[in-house]
């Protein structure tokens, strides 16, 4: 079991009202699973994503990642966990604009304390793997959307994490690029990576082997491959 959530609640205090963004989530994700997290906006899927990605802590409940309880970790310990175990791919790429694709990919290794030479070798390897070996000295603004997202995927992979978190990775891309990106995810899945994909596009979700529908802070449907879920 890679991910084990039980009784996860996230409660926000807005004025004198309490809002439960997540209202008791129990979820198990096995190693190597490719899950798609779906749901309309406001459903709590982003909050769930943040907790799964160790960017946020639940108010109540237990989250075991690789057998380690992370729900109560401090900020720095969460940072270390993100660095080692999780690779992020964002909708808007989130690359640093002033440095090259190569350096962007190497960035997680900086915080992992990897020596420079090794960093650049690894980064070059993963840039090659996403088909951008020839463009590694380009800055993000010199690359197309699809290329930027591939740089971001290379960055997510560089520190060899267990889990890849992809938050609407195709949201800003055209159909052709979207397809290319999803093919990369399919390949990663075949290689045995655990992938969690957040999307509201049913056709993107079909790439996943498991689809989860979040609604009002709860997981309302949990189905296997081949079912096309209607989000709304």
């Amino acid at each position: 079991m890679t991910i084990h959530l039980s009784g996860i609640k996230k409660i926000y205090q807005i004025g004198d009202q309490t809002v439960a963004a997540l209202d008791g989530i129990d979820l198990h994700i096995k190693k190597g699973e490719f899950s798609a997290l779906m749901g309309p906006s406001g459903s709590g899927k982003s909050t769930l994503m943040n907790i799964l990605g160790c960017l946020d802590r639940p108010t109540f409940g237990s989250y075991q990642l690789d057998g380690e309880e992370v729900a109560k970790l401090g900020d720095d310990e969460l940072a270390v966990t993100r660095n080692k175990k999780i690779g992020f791919v964002f909708q808007n790429f989130n690359l640093l604009s002033r440095i090259s694709a190569w350096e962007n990919v190497a960035l997680p290794l900086v915080y992992a304390g990897v020596p420079k030479k090794e960093r650049l070798e690894k980064a070059a390897y993963f840039l090659d793997a996403v088909g951008l070996g020839s463009r590694r000295d380009h800055q993000p603004n010199e690359l197309s959307g699809g290329q930027r997202q591939r740089v971001a995927i290379a960055r997510a992979l560089v520190n060899d994490p267990r889990i890849i978190m992809a938050d609407e990775p195709t949201g800003n891309l055209d159909t052709k690029s979207s397809k290319e990106i999803m093919e990369i995810f399919r390949k990663l899945h075949d290689e045995g990576k655990t992938i969690i994909l957040v999307t509201h596009e049913p056709e993107i979700a079909t790439y996943a082997s498991r689809q989860l529908l979040v609604r009002d802070g709860k997981i309302t449907r949990d189905v296997g491959k081949g079912v096309v879920m209607d989000v709304v």
């Binding site: 960017l55 946020d56 270390v80 989130n94 002033r98």
Partner: protein, 405 residues
């Protein structure tokens, strides 16, 4: 994460915004430069004062007559006529730890050579005068004890007097008339230039003390006795011994005031040093304020920079940067501004100090202490004013930071 890595990130960030970085540094550059330039001016003034006092003769005690008093009316200082050549001899013979004793008389006279005339100070001295004032005779010889004993009409002249009365010819062996009496010139002094008080030290005519007293001025007293003490540590002791001796010789009752004064150049030196140190501190602290303002400039820019780069901070945090990593990144950035600004400021300040001494007519002394101090201060300012913005950056919530547009 390695420290060198943080420095590299900081420098990359500074280079990405060159103009802004330079403008921020400018505050530190001007601050450090001003501190160094101002302190070097202060130190220059101090050195000038010190050398001018030292040129009067180091370890000097000066005995001068007090004011005369008759029937309750007190004359000016020096109007008393009780200080005699005998007193000088007594000091020389009875008090230990003394190198030289040099009694002098002086007065202004017109000195004439042919159709040239010149008004100058004529001093009657003993041979010790040469040593105590560290003068050297350029050509000819100085006054001897023999001249003193037989009250010879001989004179030694300074460069200014020589050139005014004899233009280019060598005056040694020639005669001048002082107060309408002929004197034979036996020597010309080496030029000493202007004293720091603006006095021309070469505008002088020197005659034997006894000649000056009896033949020229018609007096029996001396105007002052300069005493060089062999050990600067013994200044106070020698001074009080001289006071006791002179009170004895002048038969002053214990309830009466001295009829002479003994001045100590060390105390004058101390006062002057104190004053110039104050001036240096004042100049330095005014300049330090501009350094402080420069520091506030750093803080201002770092705050803007943190806000501007919120998203970058979010990305870095998502990828695993800890509080310390982000804190270091921004702190080093502001320290680098301090360091580079400090270095440029030092160069700029030293150049300014040299320019001031070259074109401004001030003596400036560049010393290591203010350079190190202001450099340390500028680094410290970078650190201090960087802490708040860096902390602000490091405390950002990664989710909020990633969402920031």
């Amino acid at each position: 994460m390695l420290f060198s890595e943080s420095i590299r990130i900081a420098i990359t960030a500074l280079l990405a915004n060159k103009l802004r970085s330079i403008l921020t540094m400018l505050g530190i550059i001007i601050g450090v430069g001003a501190v160094i330039a101002m302190v070097s001016i202060g130190m220059g003034v101090r050195q000038q004062v010190q050398t001018s006092i030292a040129s009067l003769g180091s370890n000097m005690l000066i005995v001068s007559p007090g004011s005369s008093s008759s029937g309750g009316v007190r004359g000016a200082a020096g109007s008393n006529v009780k200080l005699k050549l005998d007193d000088s001899d007594a000091i020389k013979n009875k008090i230990k730890n003394i190198d030289y004793v040099s009694p002098t008389v002086s007065s202004s006279y017109q000195v004439v050579n042919g159709n040239q005339n010149w008004n100058t100070t004529v001093q009657g001295v003993t041979p010790e005068f040469l040593l105590i004032r560290s003068l050297t005779v350029g050509s000819g010889s100085f006054i001897t004890n023999e001249d003193l004993a037989s009250r010879n009409r001989v004179a030694v002249v300074g460069k200014t007097v020589a050139s005014n009365l004899f233009s280019d010819t060598n005056p040694v062996g020639q005669n001048v008339r002082i107060n309408n009496t002929p004197y034979k010139i036996i020597g010309v002094l080496e030029s000493k230039g202007q004293s720091s008080m603006g006095q021309d030290q070469d505008d002088i005519v020197i005659v034997p003390l006894t000649t000056g007293q009896e033949r020229l001025m018609g007096i029996t007293y001396v105007k002052s006795i300069n005493i060089q003490v062999s050990d600067p540590e013994k200044m106070d002791q020698v001074q009080s011994e001289i006071e006791t001796l002179l009170r004895q010789r002048h038969r002053i009752l214990s309830n009466k005031d001295d009829d002479f004064t003994v001045r100590n150049l060390t105390s004058l030196m101390e006062t002057m040093t104190q004053t110039t140190t104050m001036i240096t501190l004042l100049l330095g602290s005014v300049a330090a304020i501009s350094l402080l303002v420069g520091g506030i400039g750093i803080m201002n820019i770092m705050m803007v920079s943190v806000t501007e780069r919120t998203r970058e901070i979010g990305i870095r945090k998502a990828l695993g940067a800890t509080f310390q990593n982000i804190m270091m990144q921004f702190l080093i950035e502001s320290v680098v501004i301090g360091v580079i600004g400090g270095i440029i400021g030092i160069i700029f300040g030293c150049m300014a100090a040299m320019a001031i001494s070259k074109f401004g007519g001030f003596t400036t002394v560049i010393t290591v202490a203010p350079i190190l101090l202001s450099f340390g201060f500028s680094v410290g300012i970078g650190l201090f004013f960087g802490i708040y913005p860096a902390r602000k950056a490091a405390l950002l919530d990664p989710i909020d930071a990633l969402r920031y547009e």
